[in-house]
């Protein structure tokens, strides 16, 4: 089982066995295997059944270009087995089969393919119409490939954010040369490669290169130089998933055994980008081109050279490129019996390769290609014909290596604003105009010659480095000229298909769409590539544009008789590779802000709630209505953490000018010791923030804002002063200072026990005082009446706030001090008729609508105060909503917040409402149309529900308590 063909380019270690299970049975592979190659080594040939018709499918490509190898691995569905490294203990299961891939009971679908042409679900099963729900359920259950694990699946998903000067997509010879060219200049390089090794298409070739060594050795030498270079960071098993504006690239890396992550999502911000993604094999289209035993040339060659597995016993090749002739010779030398090589090209082969085939007695048919594969569960015979199908011959084989040449891997460039044109000589879509700071290099540009490929990589690297400010035209110009001179010597490619209706000549393996299907779809009128793709679903499977992406436009052109020049590649979208949602979610580190009193609150049994970026206390203990907390503030004294309040110092010659612009009140007569409550409006005169302002002396002020607006205050002030050359500075002290609210009839007594002794007679009647506690903490006291008649906010540096709390707590024990949270605060302020911005206000409620017009000093002129123009204009507008207080007629009936107020129409809504234990009433605030805003007006509040009830309430101006 561990016998592998020896060879110098082997990437597996046959000495090290890895155990796994397939369909519950124990199996073995070796270190370096992918799941697919391990299965192949164990004799598995049918890997899956196709999506619609349940046709047998085998190993076709080793680069994840199709979904023939999708399996469920360790409970995760739709994993591409051919690009997944084998790990000890993996549990592999086939999917989309009833039974086994070998004997699938759903294979009867193949006999029903006449009933399921493209778009059949739009036409059939609709009549009689009452059967459609049954049919749709059946079709839904049959559709889909893998089965989701309902419990989710564990995994460690991480993020990585990289910054670099140049990012190189593709670790083949062109990409490696580009990386070295950039790194030589000490610029930062990031290189992404989908495979688990670098070297690209050099890696499995044993013929001698222009540098003297075999290609595989040249590739590994370049790989080692790059990997060891300190300025280059290499990421293998990394697939680009998107490329976005300003060269932001997204990629997903699969973790190797031993790495801490299973998958990680990467974002790379690069100065310039070099795309060197190479070229993939263009699938040859012929009847039954999807049978197990049919594979791409590169797949066969890599099975032998990279994994040490002979891909079959007796092979037929239908190819069209010198690289494939080289593969045939090498495979023959490794022991594969080759019955015949059909080359679609009539002339143009490399003579030395033709001679080498002759020496090995391998027949070569020039101008011939495969027309049909025969055999149900695997290829047994191949019908070869010449291009016009005048002659044909049948050959026995168990392996058909079929390829129609090469096509560039364009996906990353297709996401950018690159303009493409078809190059007749190679049949490649070439990028003719790239956006700035984006370059392409290597085989994707149609180069075949290894020297040219490496030179184009170096050229792209130099151009990318030049973007970073290096003067490199002396190196760039000669290289450019030399490549231009070699342009016409690129190999010609012939794309063809043997004539025939093509009922089973598949364009898209994922969705079972054939050439005949395309003809049918075009006949129905879906004749542009985008329409055809969506109606036939060709190219919409897991491999996105991969295999069908190249052949669909060609099939369309053939069908419609268009020239090839009219071809345009279809759009591709991120992610360029199927990506787990878990990978996109990543580690998802959360930023949550805690106040300095966090630990104390936890010890007191607090329940926390998210308020913006902060976590704040909603209530203590078990009662979400906070009844005892509220009663205690009424009767004794309560203590609340209000550290999240915005706190700011503003200082400077023009500090007052700024404040006058931002606040509607006239603050020019503020004197130290005085605390003024004021409000800020937006340009529409609508209330956005309120707070307290005090003058500490001279040009030094201290002010508070609501917690929600704290973060935006610096921005708001800066925005409205950006045209002035004002001399002022704001320091955001929201985090640096903590604050507690002490409220209730015993507040003064508690406070007097903690402040230092020599405070003076009128201390407690001042609005704002700076003083010290007995234990030395410098504090600022603000006399506020938000939740109680007697109340103070005590502000202190955040590092000392816990000590302040403890001091007040200890002093308050004799007075029945208890903590209170947001819910209690909400009810207490409601009883006093105070608003909460954002709950009782909207962005369309002006200061006057809210009854706060008394804050606006009309005589203050010349400061361009924000919102004043709008206040003047809206003052007498008739149809405005007004904020009122209301009391429910039936105290036991409390409407939900947001309930609408109605008569014959909607007239307003409830903004805050609570049951007040102290008043034994249900009270609230509401916004209603002006005619209903008079004291004593009766309101109807709509409750809804099955009986569509309305509750009665009465408008009450002024505080309730």
């Amino acid at each position: 089982m561990n016998d592998r063909l020896p060879g110098p380019a082997l990437r597996v270690n046959p000495e090290k066995t890895i155990h796994f299970s397939y369909r519950g049975r124990p199996m073995q592979g070796v270190a370096g295997d992918t799941v697919a190659t391990a299965l192949y080594a164990s004799g598995v040939r049918i890997f899956s059944r196709s999506f619609k018709y349940h046709r047998a499918r085998g190993l076709y490509s080793l680069d994840g270009q199709s979904s023939t190898c999708m399996m469920e691995i360790d409970g995760i569905p739709n994993i591409k087995a051919e690009i997944t490294s084998l790990r000890e203990g993996m549990a592999v299961r086939p999917q989309n089969v009833l039974g086994s891939p070998q004997r699938d009971l759903l294979a009867v679908a193949q006999w029903l393919d006449w009933a399921m042409p493209p778009g059949f679900y739009y036409k059939l099963f609709h009549k009689p119409w009452f059967l459609w729900p049954i049919f749709s359920k059946m079709i839904r259950r049959a559709a889909g490939l893998g089965r989701l694990n309902e419990e989710g699946h564990p995994g460690n998903f991480e993020n990585l954010f990289l910054n670099c000067d140049v990012c190189i997509v593709g670790g083949g010879p062109a990409g490696l040369q580009a990386a070295l060219a950039v790194a030589e200049l000490d610029l930062r390089v990031v290189l992404l490669e989908t495979r688990s090794h670098l070297g690209g298409f050099y890696d499995w070739r044993v013929v001698r290169s222009a540098w003297g060594q075999p290609f595989w050795a040249r590739g590994r030498e370049l790989e080692n130089t790059v990997v060891q270079h300190p300025a280059i960071r290499v990421f293998k098993q990394t697939h680009l998933t998107g490329i976005f504006a300003d060269n932001l690239l997204s990629a997903v890396q699969t973790g190797q055994p031993g790495e801490v992550f299973d998958e990680r999502y990467m974002e790379i911000r690069a100065g310039s980008v070099v795309v060197a993604t190479g070229s993939a094999e263009r699938p040859l289209v012929f009847e039954n081109n999807d049978r197990p035993g049919i594979m791409q040339c590169g797949c066969a060659h890599r099975l032998a050279r990279t994994y040490g597995l002979l891909p079959g016993n007796r092979a037929v090749l239908s190819v069209g490129h010198d690289l494939m002739l080289e593969a045939a010779i090498d495979l023959a030398d490794m022991g594969l019996e080759i019955a015949v090589v059909a080359d679609a090209r009539s002339t143009g082969q490399d003579e030395s390769l033709v001679d080498a085939l002759a020496q090995r007695n391998i027949p070569l048919l020039k101008g011939w290609l495969a027309a049909e594969a025969r055999g149900k569960k695997g290829v047994k015979r191949v019908l070869l014909t010449n291009r016009m199908r005048e002659e044909s011959r049948l050959f026995q084989c168990d392996l058909l290596i079929a390829s129609a040449g090469r096509a560039p891997v364009l996906d990353p460039l297709l996401m950018t604003r690159t303009r493409f044109e078809l190059d007749r000589q190679t049949g490649f879509m070439l990028p003719v105009q790239l956006p700035s700071r984006l370059y392409a290099a290597g085989r994707m540009l149609g180069w075949d010659d290894a020297q040219a490929i490496e030179d184009s990589g170096r050229l792209a690297g130099l151009k990318a480095a030049a973007d970073c400010g290096f003067a490199l035209s002396d190196f760039i110009k000669p290289l450019e000229k030399s490549l231009q001179g070699r342009f016409q010597f690129r190999a010609r490619q012939m794309m063809s298909r043997a004539p025939g209706p093509g009922h089973k000549s598949f364009i898209c393996f994922d969705e079972d769409v054939s050439v005949a299907d395309i003809h049918r779809v075009v006949a129905e009128g879906f004749d542009s590539v985008e329409l055809c793709k969506r109606y036939s679903t060709a190219g919409m499977g897991p491999s996105q544009s991969g295999i069908p992406g190249q052949n669909l436009p060609l099939a369309l052109a053939e069908c419609r008789g268009h020239t090839l020049e009219s071809l345009r590649p279809a759009k591709v979208r991120s992610p360029l590779r199927p990506t787990l949602l878990g990978t996109l979610a990543g580690k998802h580190y959360q930023l949550v802000k805690q106040t300095p009193l966090r630990k104390i609150q936890q010890q007191l049994g607090a329940s926390f709630v998210r308020a913006g970026q902060w976590e704040r206390v909603q209530y203590f203990g078990n009662d979400p209505t906070a009844r005892e907390e509220i009663a205690n503030v009424h009767a004794n004294v309560g203590l609340m953490d209000v550290s999240t309040l915005g706190k700011f110092r503003i200082v400077g010659k023009d500090a007052l000018a700024v404040l006058q612009r931002m606040y509607v009140s006239d603050l020019s007569r503020l004197i130290p010791g005085q605390l003024k409550y004021s409000a800020m409006c937006n340009e529409d005169g609508c209330l956005i923030d309120d707070g307290m302002i005090t003058c500490r002396g001279g040009d030094d002020y201290y002010f508070t804002t609501t917690s929600a607006r704290a973060r935006d205050t610096m921005e708001w002030f800066g925005y409205h002063s950006r045209f002035e050359d004002w001399d002022y500075h704001i320091v955001n002290l929201t985090d640096g200072w903590g604050a507690v609210s002490l409220a209730g009839p015993a507040a003064r007594q508690v406070l007097s026990r903690v402040v230092k002794d020599d405070v003076g007679n009128d201390f407690y009647s001042k609005g704002y005082v700076e003083t010290q506690l007995k234990n030395g903490i410098a504090v600022r006291l603000l006399r506020v009446g938000f939740v109680a008649d007697q109340g103070w906010e005590i502000h202190a540096p955040a590092s000392a706030t816990a000590a302040v709390w403890n001091a007040l707590w200890d002093a308050g024990q004799d007075f029945g001090i208890q903590p209170f949270g947001l819910e209690a605060q909400n009810v207490l302020r409601l009883e006093r008729g105070h608003i909460i911005i954002g709950e009782d206000t909207e962005l369309r409620t002006t200061l006057l609508d809210l009854g706060l017009g008394f804050l606006w000093d009309r005589n203050k002129k010349g400061f361009k105060t924000v919102g004043v123009a709008a206040l003047h204009q809206t003052e007498n507008q008739p149809d405005r909503m007004k904020l009122i207080g209301f009391k429910m007629n039936d105290p036991s009936q409390t409407p939900p917040g947001g309930a609408i107020i109605v008569d014959t129409q909607v007239r307003g809504y409830v903004t805050s409402v609570r049951y007040s234990q102290a008043l034994k009433q249900s009270i609230g605030l509401a916004l209603v149309e002006a005619p209903l805003a008079r004291d004593g007006t009766l309101l109807e509040i709509f409750i809804g529900g099955p009986d569509r009830r309305r509750l009665g309430a009465k408008v009450q101006r002024g505080p309730f308590y």
Partner: protein, 87 residues
């Protein structure tokens, strides 16, 4: 969005670090010198040219400065200042 904005102090950064401050329309008029119509135009109306415009940006997650830059709104990227237009 993956576009970048160049802060004059911090350099090129992801656009998510900034707050957009709108098209540059000059300083606010005095309250008593503008009619209601003029105020409305100042607060709510924009030129909305399909091309480069001068915009205010605030580096909210960084240095906290307000600055202007020219950006082509059709290409969604910063451009050099437009000739002749200088605020």
């Amino acid at each position: 969005m993956s576009a970048t904005i160049t802060c004059p102090i911090c350099g090129r950064r992801s656009i998510y670090e900034f707050r957009f401050g709108g098209e540059n329309r000059g300083p606010r008029p005095f309250d008593d010198q503008a009619t209601a119509q003029q105020w409305y135009a100042y607060v709510h109306l924009r030129t909305n040219a399909a091309g480069p415009q001068q915009e205010w940006w605030y580096h909210r997650d960084g240095c906290g400065t307000w600055f202007t830059t020219w950006r082509d709104v059709t290409l969604d990227c910063e451009v050099e200042a437009k000739e002749g237009k200088n605020e």
